[in-house]
Symmetry: C2
Subunit: 285 residues, 2 copies
């Protein structure tokens, strides 16, 4: 049975996303007729209708929706394959670790130091990215990432838990809750919360948050309050206070990497990170 081709899947996802052959063709840098043909051909080959052409309106069929989702994973896998292969081929081997600035729970320096003493340790390149960090992993642009559960989608990734933290509410010292020794989620009703990039449109319509400094600044300006892992306390500005949120789900900082990763350097890094985290947790609480 003749296999699907990447080109066809690219075409199909374009059409499925635009729901408009003309725009999809423009986006693909081609003209509309060959695109129509390609989709028809794909439908014929699969023996399944993917789109409902309603004269004016184009809609996905059930099967089309399935193929759209599947296509994305295939295309991700394909571009990751290219990127990882290129990286393996080029000389200068490095470990690319993507982090959220301020989101390392204070563990990162110790981990990096410990790792550099490992035999065969590679230089570690840090990439800071506030949102979309999982994407970088899935696309093969990075070797590992520091993520948070349950905040991030971990499907397709292997993980190593590093640090489980309770969460604190961060607010200006003048805030009505600033005097409390503890709060619970109900106390936050009506408070504007930050809108994280990538997260589907939340309660707040304010600006997207792109970095921790910006977030703390906005909090200081009384534009919002934020619920963050307690290790944030080490980095708080003087004009902000943090109090525990009793019923907020604990957050786990973890190291994530693509499934099936085989690099021994990455394995050593994971081992080191787990060891450092275990040690810290052991007497740090």
């Amino acid at each position: 049975m003749e296999s699907l081709e990447v080109r066809e899947l690219v075409y199909f996802t374009a059409v499925a996303e635009e729901l408009h052959f003309g725009r999809a063709a423009a986006r693909l840098g081609m003209t509309q007729p060959p695109l129509s043909r390609a989709i028809q051909q794909l439908e014929r080959r699969l023996g399944v209708a993917l789109l409902e052409r309603g004269g004016r309106r184009v809609a996905l069929t059930e099967a089309g929706a399935v193929l759209l989702r599947e296509s994305r994973t295939v295309l991700d896998a394909a571009s990751a394959a290219a990127r990882r292969t290129r990286r393996a081929g080029r000389g200068d081997p490095r470990l690319v670790l993507v982090i959220k600035p301020g989101g390392d729970g204070g563990l990162l320096p110790a981990i990096l130091d410990a790792y550099q003493t490992e035999p065969g340790a590679l230089p570690v390149e840090l990439v800071c990215s506030f949102g979309e960090r999982e994407i970088l992993l899935r696309e093969g642009r990075a070797d590992a990432a520091l993520l948070h559960r349950p905040h991030h989608d971990l499907t397709g990734l292997d993980t190593q838990d590093l640090l489980t933290e309770t969460q604190v509410l961060v607010m200006p010292s003048s805030h009505r809750l600033a005097g409390r020794t503890r709060v619970c989620l109900n106390d936050l009703a009506g408070e504007p919360l930050p809108r994280w990039p990538g997260a589907s449109e939340g309660r707040s319509h304010g600006p997207e948050i792109h970095d921790l400094g910006q977030l703390l600044h906005l909090v200081a300006l009384r534009r919002m309050v934020a619920v963050l892992p307690s290790s944030i306390r080490d980095q708080l500005r003087d004009d902000l206070v943090a109090v525990p949120v009793d019923d907020a789900e604990p957050t786990t900082l973890l190291l994530a990497w693509p499934e099936h990763a085989t690099s021994p350097a990455l394995a050593a890094f994971i081992r080191t990170a787990a060891a450092v985290a275990g040690k810290t947790t052991a007497h740090g609480g």
Copy 2:
């Protein structure tokens, strides 16, 4: 940047597996020269050497090994995409569940009964397969599978634990250990163990095991002994006995399905299975 094509990856995996252009070409149903060209083109496009042509010998480079692994996941994803799309397009919606005969811990009948009472339940098609059950899932041939941790590789799958069991040693009643009330792994030194299909060549060189009846038969014939989940006791022949293995890692029976699965029917099935397992475990131990 021009993307990789499925055809190229198929070609490359053929060559990488055969390490011989001629044989690879034959396997692909084509002649050798276009294959050589395609690989060269792939290397040029990636800017990376994938194969070392040592006059007589063809070997994978580091990058080639990476691409081989990545290619397999891409090709799996692609064929799964085709299969799932076709299944979504055809009428008759069913849930395909792949099981190991005798490997259901006795839960399956209750799960199936409970599921059929769910609103919108689909007919469930059972597929029995002793080995390679994960593959069926990854290839999109099945919707869910009953697997065991740690026996199976669960990467790329989402899972729901159903039942954790201790393991027992199954042997003929005349076996030297048959009188014991418990054994430990050290007692098994030198005993021939079954060779499971898919598992990389183990200690035993006997025939591969393809079904539970066969295995028990071989055990009865004193050809081997087996360490199995304790629920196997319900299905033991009269001439066999089972005693707990104290230090064998407990086995967890779980339901696994492909990541990103969205079918509501599957979701209902998972929910039902979890509920049934929870109830059973609650008073069953």
